[in-house]
């Protein structure tokens, strides 16, 4: 085994040659024989009843094969889209989930909602014909402001007050008792701004019904094709699973937004049988803005109780979470079980009580987006910790150090039991890398140039490697969150790794091959990774929540171990030795204490020719599968320090230094991990400084293009100083924790803590655009003048 490609080596990504030479095969690159094109007519109103929908002129327009509406779905008994996680209210009653038809049935609930689909020979014909559809809308009041939603027009009959659920977690009495003993209480009000995912590849789908076999094939931009098949079969009812094949080929970014099962792919696969032709749809960028599930969007109030020594006694939190117009696939769990259990952060907090209201509004559905609940928790915890340190006149690093959890395992008051961690180690390294001790001098130098300098900390924690199936089942999940793997060894000793994980940018073809090649002692180029096709991989739960390393690779290791065990049996026959005497090391099976050995490939050949053993004693072949169900979440953590310089004349924030120290446990490929950290920080800085979805009072999405929605660009970002500490996870065989979301979780509070430090008060919103920061500077100036 070469050290250059083994576990821990920065192997160049095997998939990149294909991607950077334009040989990637994305859904939109696929074209089926006689394929037709779909165009979705979308609602121009945030909230309206459809009094009349006249499709007659569109039906007879040139090239049109079909115009389908919600009535057609109902006639074919096609079910609505589902939300796969049941949340219960404080009183034990179930959440109020309104129906979510793939095409509107009498009502539209956000701008971009699906009114009808036109299928034609060409996309232009479909679009032209859609202009001939006459819709008579009765416009209803838009519901945009969460604070006013309860007294606004009902969006779904089942939820007259627009409240989906009223949920809580933690011990209220214990928390109240903690506050009654407090010497100081820090309070904060926060808005976690709504984000639009903006994967580089827009969503796309091709439905292809084969009348000969009765099998539907769906090509789609999915992070989890098996879950898509399960939902479309078991809930939407398009076809049973053995008659539905879902293929997610190369996928160009997802950030969560391609986990969900959307209206468009549902309609394309159903319509392919209706019109007797393959049906293709690719979102344009405006459709992506309007209809991809958005992320975040919380309004929170939090209070932190401290004793006279600055030790935390308790935390209470009230959050309103915007869920949009419909419950998307996993939306309900994001502001509940992916949020509240993280509110202990890295801190020893004896009592926590959290209340969360999930709110319907007439906006695009909101669901998991890079970090999913955990960035919202970290933002809240790290902002209130910073504020508490300032209010008590304590250095923010000292305040954190004093309150860190220092012994493990640690049971928090909000479900999570942290297996391991070393928060002080990350903080110490980060302080050194950031040259914290000389910050005061740098601040003075900035002041001489008329600039405001600030420094901000974020000591984040996240829960990755989701998740133990029985545990999430008890909390309302509709599925288990294990992962599967299959190792197929070919007779010549090359290996195919079939995984239920799905790479949409993470580099699985490299890291998974690195792991398998290392374990089997074979060349990395002898390993191929297969994913994204329900006909090839038996089942899998997909890639999200930084789970593909901790869960997906643990399943692979389990299958590899089975292959080695079987190989030992084969080698025992071939080497005429006892199985217990066979050792496997560096790609060779050998007999202990002798010079007799066989290479991995030779044993593979023996397994398939089966000449040296009796097929009744040992089955021929070398192929093993495994399902791995984690026993706990993993808990990556770290400390990020952001240093900013603000130009008070314009409000422009310049990030002058970024220090990231992360503890991801063991790392397979440090280059890929560093890339994940870079991308995560870019998105986190995007949330903090640049990105913000904005609906106006009429429910129109003002930020529906790059003219108004600010995506982070390279020149918005600094160079990152990245350090790592390593306390391996104790609950999976690889000691891996996960790294995909860390940057996006860590970054926003680091930025806002730095800006609030610079301007001298806490009132800075996200995104902290130049305009917002200029306003904050004005407030600071007034405050200074008054003092």
């Amino acid at each position: 085994m070469s050290a250059k490609t083994g576990v821990g080596a920065p192997v160049l990504r095997k998939e990149d040659f294909r991607f950077i030479t334009g040989k990637g095969q994305y859904t939109d690159d696929i074209n089926r024989q006689d394929q037709a094109h779909a165009y979705f007519l979308r609602s121009p109103h945030a909230h309206a009843t459809i009094k009349k929908l006249d499709i007659s002129a569109a039906k007879s327009a040139p090239g049109v094969l079909g115009v389908l509406t919600g009535d057609d779905l109902a006639a074919d008994k096609i079910g609505g889209l589902i939300c796969g996680w049941m949340i219960h209210n404080k009183d034990g009653s179930p959440m109020k989930a309104g129906a979510h038809p793939a095409l509107a049935q009498g009502k539209v609930r956000y701008v971009g909602d699906h009114v009808a689909v036109v299928i034609a020979d060409t996309y232009a014909q479909a679009k032209d014909a859609a202009e001939k559809i006459v819709v008579d809308y009765q416009v209803l009041p838009a519901v945009v402001d969460m604070n006013k939603a309860k007294s606004s027009a009902a969006i779904h009959d089942v939820a007259p007050d627009n409240v989906v659920y009223d949920w809580h977690l933690g011990d209220k009495a214990a928390t109240d008792a903690a506050f009654s003993k407090a010497k100081h209480v820090t309070k904060i009000d926060l808005v976690n701004n709504r984000l639009i995912p903006n994967a580089m590849e827009p969503r796309a789908a091709i439905g292809d019904f084969d009348a000969g076999t009765g099998v539907y094939t769906l090509y789609t931009t999915s992070q989890n094709p098996h879950v898509a098949r399960l939902v479309l079969s078991a809930f939407v009812g398009i076809a049973p699973e053995h008659k539905l094949r879902v293929i997610a080929p190369d996928v160009g970014g997802g950030f969560g937004s391609k986990i969900f099962i959307y209206a468009e792919e549902t309609v394309c696969v159903w319509a392919s049988k209706k019109v007797g032709r393959p049906v293709k749809w690719t979102a344009d960028r405006t459709e992506a803005f309007l209809s991809d599930a958005h992320g975040r969007d919380h309004i929170s109030h939090a209070e932190l109780a401290l004793d006279d020594k600055g030790k935390i006694l308790g935390l209470r939190v009230q959050t309103k979470a915007n869920l949009g117009a419909y419950l998307s696939t996993f939306s309900s769990c994001v502001p509940t079980y992916l949020y509240a259990p993280l509110l202990s952060g890295q801190y020893d907090i004896p009592a926590i009580y959290v209340e969360v209201e999930g709110i319907y509004t007439t906006t695009a559905p909101v669901d998991a987006y890079r970090g999913a609940g955990r960035p919202e928790a970290t933002f809240l915890v790290e902002r209130i910790i910073e504020k508490a340190a300032r209010e008590t006149g304590t250095d923010p690093a000292t305040f954190r150090r004093k309150n860190f959890i220092k012994s493990f395992p640690h049971q928090t008051p909000v479900i999570m039991a942290y297996d391991t961690g070393n928060y002080t180690a990350s903080l110490d390294l980060a302080l050194e890398m950031a040259d914290y001790k000389n910050f005061a001098k740098r601040k003075k130098d900035s002041a001489k140039n008329g600039k405001l300098r600030g420094i901000g900390f974020s000591a984040y924690i996240e829960a990755c490697g989701i998740a133990p199936s029985a545990a999430v089942g008890s909390l309302g999940a509709g599925v288990g969150l294990w992962e599967s793997a299959e190792i197929r060894v070919n007779p010549v000793g090359t290996v195919e790794v079939l995984t239920g994980s799905h790479s949409h940018g993470q580099g699985h073809e490299t890291t998974f091959a690195q792991l398998v090649a290392d374990r089997l002692g074979i060349d990395i180029d002898s390993v191929a990774v297969v994913h994204g096709d329900t006909d090839k991989v038996q089942f899998g739960m997909g890639t999200y929540g930084s789970r593909s390393g901790a869960v997906g690779m643990s399943a692979i290791v389990k299958a590899v171990d089975k292959v080695i065990a079987k190989g030992k049996k084969v080698a025992a026959y071939a080497l005429e030795a006892a199985e217990k005497d066979i050792q496997f090391k560096d790609g060779r099976f050998s007999v202990a204490g002798t010079d007799k050995s066989l290479a991995f490939g030779e044993v593979a050949l023996q397994a398939y020719i089966a000449h040296k053993f009796n097929g009744q004693d040992l089955e021929p072949g070398l192929k093993e599968g495994a399902f791995y169900d984690p026993t706990n979440f993993t808990f990556p953590s770290g400390v990020h320090i952001c240093e900013v310089e603000i130009d008070p004349d314009t409000g422009t924030t310049d990030i002058v230094k970024w220090t990231a120290v992360d503890d991801f446990g063991n790392v397979i490929n440090p280059m890929i991990v560093e890339g994940q950290v870079h991308g995560g920080i870019a998105q986190g800085v995007g949330q903090a400084l640049l990105e913000g979805a904005h609906y106006n009072a009429d429910g129109q999405l003002v930020t529906a293009s790059y003219m108004d929605y600010t995506m982070p660009r390279a020149d918005d970002l600094p160079s990152f100083d990245i350090g790592m500490t390593n306390t391996p996870c104790t609950t999976n065989p690889l000691g891996i924790k996960g790294c995909g979301e860390a940057g996006a979780i860590a970054a926003p509070p680091a930025v806002i803590n730095a800006i609030t430090d610079a301007v001298g008060h806490e009132d800075v919103p996200m995104p902290a655009t130049p305009y917002a920061v200029w306003q904050a500077c004005q407030k600071g100036a007034r405050k200074l003048a008054a003092e």
Binding site: T650, H694, M707, D708, Y771
Partner: protein
């Protein structure tokens, strides 16, 4: 995009004839605004009269104390022109800061001025430098040309042929970009020629590019950034949107003007 007729005249005269013949016809220069608008089905001209094949419409030359730029000259060519960089570096810098490389390689000075987008960069240079817009029919002074948002003095069938910029003694452009689009949220072009100081502001005005009399008065006394200390620009008539209030834009005008003056004096 809807269907349209396409014409590629070889001369400005042919272009003008075609424009007169095609009701709802549009002149196509670099297409950096028109084509995206058509793709979004927000514009549906009956015909496009493409100037890209018309002779004598592009090029840069110095004529005495003027820089003359053909209407079809690309931003990238102005940005990299040795003539412009030497005689009027502020204009080369402005052109080099428009959009992105793709936009600069297609977009034209004539197209930008004729469109008069309220956040475009070029109108501020044309106005501050007191340029003359030469059309197929007449010469128009910059002060008369810009007539409000997306509105100009161009009449039916009138096509810009070239723009003539008097060479100033000092000039510079400072843009504060909209964080999303990177169009000018506030762009200020300052120019000094003899005793004449002109300050043109783009991006801020709800009626398009305009001259800031407050800044001009302050700088006429002494062309120095310090002269702008304490100068207040009224927020009335300025744009307000989610990216910036009118007050913020008003505040940024003297801030950008100061930076432009510093830049002009540094040369």
């Amino acid at each position: 995009m809807y269907a349209f007729n396409y014409h590629a005249p070889k001369t400005v005269r042919q272009a003008a004839t075609l424009l007169a013949k095609n009701e709802d016809g549009k002149v196509l220069a670099g297409g950096q605004t028109l084509l995206p608008t058509m793709k979004q089905r927000l514009a549906s001209p009956s015909a496009l009269i493409d100037l890209n094949h018309a002779e004598g419409m592009s090029g840069i030359e110095q004529k005495g104390r003027n820089i003359v730029i053909g209407a079809m000259t690309r931003h990238a060519d102005v940005a990299t022109s040795a003539v412009v960089k030497n005689a009027l570096p502020a204009l080369a810098a402005l052109a080099g800061g428009i959009g992105d490389p793709a936009v600069r390689n297609r977009g034209t000075i004539g197209g930008s001025i004729a469109n008069n987008d309220p956040a475009a960069d070029y109108p501020s240079a044309v106005l501050a430098l007191g340029a003359t817009i030469v059309t197929n029919k007449r010469k128009i002074a910059a002060d008369d040309f810009f007539q409000g948002m997306f509105a100009t003095a161009l009449e039916e069938g009138e096509i810009i042929v070239k723009v003539s910029f008097p060479i100033p003694s000092k000039a510079a452009y400072e843009k504060f970009p909209n964080p999303a689009s990177r169009y000018a949220l506030v762009g200020v072009f300052v120019a000094k020629k003899g005793a004449d100081v002109r300050v043109a502001v783009t991006g801020a005005g709800s009626n398009g590019v305009f001259r800031s009399k407050e800044c001009e008065a302050a700088l006429a006394a002494r062309f120095n950034a310090k002269s702008l200390d304490g100068v207040k620009v009224s927020a009335s008539g300025l744009n307000a949107d989610m990216h910036a209030s009118a007050d913020y834009r008003a505040h940024l005008i003297p801030v950008m003007a100061k930076r432009a003056v510093d830049k002009a004096l540094a040369k």
